[in-house]
Amino acid sequence: MKPGAKQEAEWTRRKFLATGAIGTAGGLLVYAGFERIHALYEDGKRADVCVAKAGDYGKPLKTIILDGMAALGVGAADVSGKRILLKPNFVEPEPNRPQIVTHPLVVHAAAEAFLSLGAAEVLVAEAAGHRRDTVLILETAGMADVLRDAKIRFIDLNYVDTVAVPNTAGCSAMRTFEVPKLLRSVDWIVSMPKMKTHHWAGVTLSMKNLFGAMPGCVYGWPKNVFHHLGIDNCILDLNAMLQPHFAIVDGIVGMEGDGPIMGDAKHAGLLVMGKNLPAVDATCARLMGVNPLKVPHLKQASGWLGPIREEHIAQRGENIRDVAVKFALLDKVPAQRGIRL
């Protein structure tokens, strides 16, 4: 429930108090019941999410992505003539640690899939959170040659021109955000994270990936301003403001334990897709053995930015229980404590 809704609820509570009706135990029970039903119903938000098997990066990923999109009802009519921005996660690429970044073959396959549906242009753009050397980032992530050979343009969002955009959600204390102008000029923003646990946010998936859409030249490396404002608050603000159109999560090899950098590789053999990011992330969490209702930013997105309850997400492709792979969580990490499904 977004803060505005919370304020509304507070106001309703005050009104309730003013009436004197809440002075009784019965009134309290009625009110608590009302809030519980409201949360369970998720304001009528519903979404479709597709879970697709992809055993390794050698599989026909373009076909798998296209099939997933078709299962979600996304086709040429939605994409034709559009400018598509793919936003992978290249936070801190390291040689021999492929679990850190979105795999270049997944990014390439997504680009090909969108182009085959008639997209006018596909761009790859990222503002790596920890590293500043664009060339080294692309090379270490294995992305440089893939992009060059496919003639796909890469934009380093860390240094681009920005425009001040009001923070309408107001979860954090930021009045405006400096948003790359490029993000306002494309038709679709596609969040393409790695499926990972995270030592501050519990999990890092398509919603958290939007930290990497914001320029380091304004917010620093790492995006320290967001940490000062509250990570969960900023995840919610950025998702409400940028309103991304689609997510493709690279869960072929993800990361468990001490994510987002120092955790271990975890093979899940999955790509997860959808148009609603909270629903996609909630599904990913379940696949990882994490309860999305215990992940603060997902819980707060419930009923506002999307549904996260299983009964409100129409599952396409694989059944969660058939393909779920329990990702290791660390007891010593507060954000990962008590979030197991």
Binding site: E92, E94, H130, R131, R132, D133, T134, V135, L136, L138, E139, A144, L147, R148, R153, F154, D156, Y159, V160, D161, A164, A173, M174, R175, T176, E178, H199, W200, G216, C217, V218, Y219, G220, W221, P222, N224, V225, H227, H228, L229, D258, I261, M262, L330, K332, V333, P334, A335
Partner: protein, 294 residues
């Protein structure tokens, strides 16, 4: 070749865009000024760019990329570095130095969750954004800038040197600014390590940074990206370690960055510094200024 690329990023008023087609900005203009001076461009261009850079300086002495909270003040250090040794820019330099020394706020704690073992907050350097935590890169650039402008004896520089040493990874090198989180040592980054070593040169003994120099030497041969390669070469040079083939390596890095569409004024400035090293020219702009380079 680099000079021609630089021209494409420069506007008529001396301001620079970070990449071709983008808007003129303070940080890009500071990198542009550094590149112009290192490439020994004409005096009129250098003067125009220096003055354009000054036009972004506010009354506090800082140069800011705006944000309604925690403004990005890090271009202030970069401007000070770019102006150092320019007689006409002494007043602007002094204002920037005083901002860095006295008004550039840094919080002393990131308030990490208990048990996360974030580094000792009592060591403070400089932040990217005013009122946030210290990190290795803005601290290193500020130290280099204050050293180039003759302020290295200030107390805040001493604290920043301690902070950089404290943020050095146990196995050598620097990550972006933390060392061990949840009992796990982070990974070193070559560009950050090169920059920190440049900043510490002349301030601490070799024994304090030997592991980091070893790390840098072990990875530098395999690196051909402009920023990491250039900071690595400058760092080794600053610590008296010879690097051969600088000019050819700079040329290769230039070509590669251009082929990826990733050439920007920061890369050009750093590659110009590499060429400076290759030609055994003075490394600090302060010395360059004293040697008659405007």
């Amino acid at each position: 070749m680099a000079a021609r690329e630089l021209e494409r990023l420069m506007e008529g008023d001396g301001g620079f865009a970070y990449t071709e087609g983008s808007e003129v900005r303070a940080d890009a203009t500071a990198w542009g000024l550094l590149a112009l001076r290192l490439l020994q461009s004409d005096a009129a261009s250098i003067e125009r760019t220096a003055q354009k850079l000054e036009s972004w300086q506010d009354s506090s002495g800082s140069l800011v990329l705006p944000l309604d909270r925690y403004p990005a003040v890090w271009p202030s250090s970069l401007a000070l570095l770019a102006w150092s040794g320019m007689p006409g820019m002494v007043p602007a330099s002094e204002k920037a130095a005083q901002f860095l020394l006295h008004d550039n706020a840094v919080v002393r704690s990131n308030r990490p969750p208990k048990g996360s073992e974030i580094n000792d907050p009592d060591f403070s350097g400089w932040p990217w954004n005013n009122g946030t935590y210290s990190w290795v890169i803005p601290t290193s650039v500020a130290l280099l800038a204050l050293k180039s402008s003759g302020h290295e004896k200030e107390e805040r520089c001493a604290r920043a040197i301690e902070m950089l040493l404290e943020r050095q990874l146990p196995h050598g090198g620097w990550n972006y600014g933390n060392t061990i989180i949840f009992n796990t040592e982070l990974l070193p980054l070559p560009d950050t390590t090169g920059l920190a070593l440049c900043a510490l040169a002349g301030h601490v003994g070799l024994d304090k940074v030997q592991r980091s120099l070893d790390y840098l030497q072990s990875v530098l041969a395999g690196i051909s990206s402009p920023l990491a390669m250039a900071w690595g070469i400058l760092a080794l040079k600053a610590w008296g370690i010879g690097v051969t083939d600088c000019e050819a390596r700079a040329q290769r890095a230039f070509e590669k960055a251009r082929s990826y569409g990733a050439l920007n004024c920061e890369s050009l400035g750093m590659l110009a510094a590499c060429v400076q090293v290759a030609q055994n020219l003075p490394l600090t702009l302060r010395a360059a200024g004293e040697a008659g380079l405007k």
